[in-house]
Each structure stands twice: as structure tokens, then as C-alpha cells.
């Protein structure tokens, strides 16, 4: 029996369990009491998390190829659809499952309405994310992409009683569905050229022959569509609108999983399909991806500083970090990819903790405006600590996972001969974490002036869940009663305090795991090895797959003195930025920032027509850059 092809029931179970659970919940939600719905949903999510974690461990040696409906390739030609399970993909799927579980626990008090229908949506989102990470078929990737998108659109507009979430959802839906259209077009073009939909077989067919115009355009369309989801400049304009107004547990899913999926797809498509093109496209493609990553990281960091609405600030912080992941993955080396992967995990946990913390504040104070919350942190001490810690972890506080990832990224940049990238990354991280720390200082310590940047950011303040979703309006006739006392409420519920702390603890635990860097580097090397992947999928070479080239993790990465010092330096710098922003120079600094970046803020108009125009421009730009890189 071929050691690569797997018939383990574990693999389909990772999608069958959440899908089956979601279907049953959708069918019988009327019959179940509320606590049963919550409990079942959390149980299903945790089960999925267990399954995906087991898969991550068992696929560490070699990829596991699973052929659905038993259609194995015949004579090197693919007939059916496959899952190509590798540790990187399975790890990403595990992250999705863990974050979904945390979000569902949090939802216990957040969505208190009598008919909580969000369970099915969250579980379907999870199943689609898992499929996205594990699949080896291009069209299956597209279907999963669309499923993630559809559930996300609906969840964004959950607070349908306010115009901001609705507008955010519309901008999100229009731009992302155009992105999906681009992906489908790209798939059509590639199919016409290669006659197959399987990633490995497409790559094999395209390898060795010079890229035609059709191939370049297909690349531009595929990458463009996925980069819309990944919110890379100039496809990013929908992100602050959507993340700034979606419900908090949904933001956790978005920030931790959804955007990263877009980047995952770009790198996957590159690694399996386009990396085999002749003419050494790597250096030029590296330049393209790095350029986009640097731009995204910088724009995100600067815009985060200028925000006073907390969720929108976190949205831009997410975008900035996405740019950093693109920098890491865009180096197109296994070491860079490993660094980006660890950053995705560590930052994903920390960003989710931040969003959940902000959600607790919103639940208690009915606002997320930094200005209105000045000094209002009394009584929310644990949440304050969570938020501050989360911001520091995002600034690569050792020994959390993020600092390990950062170390690998720096090492990769050095190896690629681009040491100045470290400064760009450090700058962005410091600015975005500094913004969050500034907000924390203002809210909990009451520091800073009461006057905030005029003009006030336009995005409507977000008072949180709908009135009928609040627990104190559960009895009828009290539709408006809950809103009359928006101030003091009881203590923050445990289901809102524990999940963020748990996520941070997981980040710490993983960071302390020995050998994490080596395992991730090996996983990244396997991910990037096109020849081995093709051989495994098509079964053209019997017997064991040749091991991917060994990737040595330099000693300078990881918990070395140099790495720790650099990370601590970043943390201190972030604190410094926050301190500056709360000091007497704050007003002057704000004026400086506004003068320098007012045009940038003006561009983020929230108008869908503008966003689509940028999308079209971005596509054309990608096509030109792709043509230069691939020819």
C-alpha cells in the first residue's frame, strides 16, 4: 500500500463533524433550549480542534493524500478531488478550530437573543476554513473560499439595526465577491491551458514551459482574488469597514483566521503551480510580494495610530500584521514561511485576545470610543491586563510564539540579503502596538488629554449587541429598558474573561515548546517543495518520497540573547510610543500625524464605488507586475 495515500477517517471527519453539526443545528434550533445550542456548538468546535491537532501531528513526516469517493489518479492523471494534508495546512486549520471554540464560548453571553442562529454560521465558517487549508484541488479551494465569504458576510451584518454594520457588510460582500469572480476566471483560464483542476497536476503541466500570456493573467487573477480576502493594499479598503462594525466574536474569527487564509492561498498557489515556471521567477516575484507586504504593513500601522474607535484600530492593526506575514512568506524561502506561520499563530491568538477584551469593555460600557472611555476602566482590571498583555505579545514579547516567529523572520531576511526588512517590521509592530497601549493607558489609567484628534473619526461608535440581545432585556416589554442604563452593570461574565486569557496562555505554552522552530521550518520546507508534492499526489514515483531539503534554523533565531534583546527592544519602543501619545506632546504629535496622513485617511471613505475602483486598479497592477516577474 502506498505510504502516502491515506484512507484515514480522521481526514474527512475534520469537515464532516462541523458540517453535520451545523446542519443539525440549523434544522432543529427551535426545539433546543438556548444552553443546549451553545453547548453543542462548543462541543462540535472543540471536537474539530482535536481532530485537526491530531492531523497536524500525524502529517508531520510526510503529506497525507486523501482521495474523495475513492477516485485515485490513473496513469498519472487525476480523476477526483483530493485533500493534501500537511502540517502547515493542518496547523492553520487547528488555529481556526481553536479560535472558533473560543469565539463560541464568548458568544454565550454576547448573543443572548432567544433565537441565536449564529451557531450554524460559525460552524460552517470553521468547516470551510478547514477545507480551504487541506484541499489539493483548485476548484475546491474556490468553493471553500466562497463558503467562508458567505458566512462572513452574514455574520458581519449581525447587528442589523445600525447602519455601520450593514454598510461594512455591503462593502465586504461586493469587494470579496468580485474577488471570487476573479479567482473563478483564473481557474477557467488555467483549466483551458492545462486541462485539469488539481493543483499538483496543473503545476506539473506548466512546469518547464515558458509562461504564456494566459498563464500570467491567470496568476494575476488568482493572486488578486485571494489578496482581496487577505486585505493587501490596494484591495484592503473593505477591511476596516467590516472589522470595525462586526460583532466581537466574529471579529475574532476574521482577524485570526479569515484574512490569513487569503495569504495561505496565494503562497499555496505559488508553491504548487507557478514556482515551476522556467526563468527563475523567484527573485522578481519576491520583490513584488515584499513590496505589497511592506506597503500593507505601513499603511495599517499608520492608520491604526490615527484611530479612536477601538475596533477600527484593531482592524488596522490586523492589516498591518497581515503585511508582515506577507513579508515573511513573500521571501519565498522555507525559513521565511516558517516565521510567517509562527507569527500567524502567535499573533492570531493575541489579536483574538485583544478583540475579546475590547468586547468585554463594550459589553460593560456600551461604547468602543477611546475618547468616551477615558478613565472608564475602573472595575475592569482583568480585561485591562489582558489587553495590555495582548498588545505586548503582538510587539513580540518573549517567550510567546510571536517572538519565535519574529526571530525566524529576521533570520530569513538576513539570509535573503535584506536585513533592512527587520526595521520596517519593527516600525510597524511598534506603531500598531503603541496605539493599543495608548488606548489602554487612556482607558485604565486615565492618562492623556480629553481632547482627541479633530475631526473625530467618522466611523460610528459601536454600542455593541442589539438591545434584545442583552440579558437584562430578555423579558418582554423591556425593549428599551436595557438601554436606559448603559453605564454600570454587573461584573464581566466569566465566559468573557476566560477565553482571552486562555488564548494568551496557549501562546505562551507554545512559545515555550522546544523544537517549535525546527518543526515549523520542516513543515514549511515540505510545503514549498513542489516536486515532492507532485510526486506524492500523482503517485508517479512509488515508494517513499524524497525528504525535502533540510532547512537549518540559524542559532541566531529563537531564544538566543540577540533575539530576546531585539524583541524586548520592540516592546519597550511600543510602550514608549504609547507614553508619548499620552504625554504633553500628544496634541502636537497628533497635528503632525494628521498633516502627514490626512490624505490617506481621506482615501478610506467607506464608499463601495471607490473600493471597487481600487480593486480594478490593483488587478491591472498585479497583471503588469506578474508579467514582469514570470516572463
Amino acid at each position: 500500500m502506498d505510504p502516502i495515500v491515506s484512507t484515514s477517517a480522521l481526514i474527512p471527519a475534520t469537515v464532516a463533524v462541523p458540517l453535520g453539526g451545523a446542519a443539525l443545528m440549523a434544522a432543529f434550533s427551535r426545539l433546543l433550549p438556548r444552553w443546549a445550542r451553545d453547548l453543542i456548538a462548543i462541543a462540535v468546535a472543540l471536537a474539530t480542534a482535536t481532530l485537526t491537532l491530531v492531523l497536524t501531528a500525524s502529517s508531520a513526516g510526510h503529506p497525507m493524500i486523501y482521495w474523495f469517493a475513492g477516485w485515485r489518479p490513473a496513469g498519472g492523471k487525476v480523476i477526483g478531488v483530493d485533500y493534501a494534508v500537511g502540517p502547515l495546512g493542518a496547523g492553520m486549520a487547528s488555529l481556526a478550530a481553536v479560535l472558533a471554540s473560543a469565539a463560541l464560548v464568548y458568544c454565550w453571553r454576547y448573543f443572548d437573543s432567544a433565537r441565536g442562529r449564529h451557531h450554524a454560521l460559525v460552524l460552517i465558517f470553521l468547516a470551510a476554513s478547514v477545507d480551504f487549508c487541506l484541499t489539493g484541488d483548485l476548484f475546491n479551494l474556490f468553493v471553500a473560499f466562497e463558503l467562508v465569504a458567505v458566512t462572513a458576510f452574514a455574520l458581519t451584518g449581525y447587528n442589523a439595526g445600525h447602519p455601520a454594520p450593514l454598510q461594512g457588510a455591503i462593502n465586504f460582500a461586493v469587494t470579496n465577491s468580485l474577488g471570487g469572480m476573479c479567482v473563478l476566471l483564473g481557474i477557467g483560464f488555467l483549466y483551458a491551458r492545462t486541462g485539469t483542476l488539481n493543483l499538483a497536476q496543473i503545476g506539473q503541466t506548466l512546469a518547464g514551459r515558458p509562461a504564456s500570456g494566459l498563464t500570467v493573467v491567470a496568476f494575476a487573477l488568482l493572486a488578486g482574488g485571494f489578496l482581496v480576502k487577505a486585505a493587501v493594499v490596494p484591495f484592503h479598503f473593505w477591511l476596516p469597514d467590516a472589522y470595525g462594525s462586526a460583532p466581537i466574536p466574529v471579529c475574532v474569527l476574521f482577524a485570526g483566521v479569515m484574512s490569513e487564509l487569503g495569504l495561505f492561498a496565494v503562497i499555496r498557489v505559488w508553491a504548487t503551480i507557478f514556482s515551476g515556471l522556467p526563468g527563475h521567477p523567484e527573485p522578481r516575484m519576491r520583490a513584488v510580494l515584499l513590496g505589497l507586504g511592506i506597503l500593507t504593513a505601513l499603511v495599517g500601522a499608520v492608520m491604526a495610530l490615527a484611530q479612536t474607535q477601538l475596533k477600527r484600530m484593531l482592524a488596522f492593526l490586523t492589516m498591518s500584521h497581515l503585511g508582515i506575514y506577507l513579508i515573511g512568506a513573500g521571501l519565498l524561502t522555507p525559513l521565511g514561511l516558517a516565521g510567517a506561520s509562527l507569527l500567524v499563530i502567535g499573533d492570531g491568538l493575541a489579536k483574538s485576545a485583544l478583540f475579546l477584551g475590547v468586547g468585554a469593555v463594550q459589553h460593560q460600557r456600551a461604547t468602543v470610543s477611546e475618547t468616551k472611555l477615558r478613565g472608564a476602566g475602573r472595575g475592569l482590571a482583568v480585561t485591562g491586563v489582558t489587553i495590555a498583555l495582548g498588545a505586548l505579545v503582538l510587539a513580540d514579547l518573549p517567550p510567546f510564539v510571536s517572538s519565535a516567529g519574529h526571530g525566524l523572520l529576521v533570520a530569513a531576511a538576513d539570509q535573503a540579503g535584506l536585513p533592512w526588512l527587520e526595521f520596517v517590521v519593527a516600525l510597524c509592530v511598534v506603531l500598531s502596538s503603541g496605539a493599543v497601549l495608548r488606548a489602554a493607558g487612556r482607558i485604565w489609567l486615565g492618562w492623556g488629554d480629553s481632547q482627541v484628534t479633530p475631526p473625530e473619526t467618522g466611523t460610528a461608535d459601536d454600542p455593541g449587541e442589539e438591545a434584545e440581545d442583552r440579558p437584562d432585556t430578555a423579558d418582554t416589554g423591556g425593549e428599551r429598558a436595557g438601554r436606559e442604563q448603559p453605564g454600570r452593570r454587573q461584573r464581566v461574565p466569566l465566559t468573557m474573561v476566560l477565553p482571552p486569557l486562555a488564548l494568551l496562555a496557549i501562546g505562551l505554552g507554545l512559545g515555550l515548546t522546544s523544537g517549535l522552530e525546527e518543526h515549523t521550518a520542516a513543515a514549511a520546507a515540505a510545503f514549498s517543495d513542489r516536486a515532492a508534492y507532485v510526486a506524492a499526489v500523482l503517485g508517479t514515483r512509488g515508494g517513499p518520497v524524497p525528504a525535502a531539503g533540510q532547512v537549518t534554523v540559524p542559532a541566531s533565531a529563537g531564544l538566543s540573547a540577540g533575539g530576546v534583546l531585539t524583541d524586548l527592544g520592540q516592546v519597550l519602543a511600543a510602550l514608549g510610543v504609547a507614553g508619548l501619545a499620552l504625554s504633553g506632546w500628544a496634541a502636537g504629535l497628533r497635528r503632525l500625524l494628521a498633516a502627514g496622513t490626512g490624505w490617506l485617511r481621506h482615501l478610506h471613505s467607506g464608499l463601495v464605488g471607490d473600493q471597487v475602483t481600487w480593486l480594478v486598479a490593483g488587478l491591472a497592477l498585479l497583471a503588469a507586475l506578474g508579467g514582469w516577474a514570470l516572463h
Binding site: 476548484f139 468553493v143 466562497e146 465569504a149 458567505v150 458576510f153 452574514a154 451584518g157 442589523a160 439595526g161 445600525h162 447602519p163 455601520a164 450593514l166 454598510q167 461594512g168 457588510a169 455591503i170 462593502n171 460582500a173 461586493v174 465577491s177 468580485l178 471570487g180 469572480m181 473563478l184 476566471l185 481557474i187 477557467g188 483549466y191 483551458a192 483542476l197 476596516p240 469597514d241 470595525g244 462594525s245 492608520m303 490615527a306 484611530q307 477600527r312 473619526t457 467618522g458 466611523t459 460610528a460 485617511r601 481621506h602 478610506h604 471613505s605 467607506g606 464608499l607 463601495v608 464605488g609 471597487v612 475602483t613 480594478v616
Partner: protein, 112 residues
Amino acid sequence: MSVLAYGVVAWLFLYGVVTSRNLIHLVVCLSVAQSATDVLLLEIGYRSGGHAPVFVSLPVHPGPAVDALMQALALTDVVVGATVTALLLALAVQVHKRAGTLDPNELRATRD
């Protein structure tokens, strides 16, 4: 030449999306552009003189069949497009109620 028709349609309706002053109009433009993509898929799978990939009641010399795979893909995309359209229309209904307008250029709730 017929593949060019798809390109022109999608391109034109992108213009519709960008300059739209009514959300319903925008959604319909998006839907047409999506349908154009589906037609392109079918065009890629077409074969001159071919018959549908349904092997029942065929004439004596049936000739080749067209690409059934592209038809399956187009079917899937039709469902995807329909569901996104439905979601967008639901959002439009709520926006009209809450913001009082259907003009996307008048929606100012998420600007910076």
C-alpha cells in the same frame, strides 16, 4: 469572437458597480458580471458540432459531447452567485430601513 463578448459584458458591468447610485442596481450589475463568468466557463468547454453530455436518445452517429466538467463548475457558480445576491439584497433592505437611503454614495457610517 464570442469569448470577447464575455469580456465586454463583465467590463461594462464593472463600470455599473463603480458608478451606481442605487444599491439594487449595484447588486444586479454584480449578478450580471457573475453570470458572464459562468458563460465564459461554458464557452471554454464548448465543442463545435457537439451535443450535450447526456447519453440518452442519441442519434445513430452522435458525434462528440461537450465538456461536462465546465457545466458542473458553472452550476456551482450559479448557486454561489444566487446566494451572494440574496444576501446583498437582504442587506439592502435593512440599509434602506436604517439609513433611509439606497444610494451607496450617501452611506457615511464607516468613513475615516
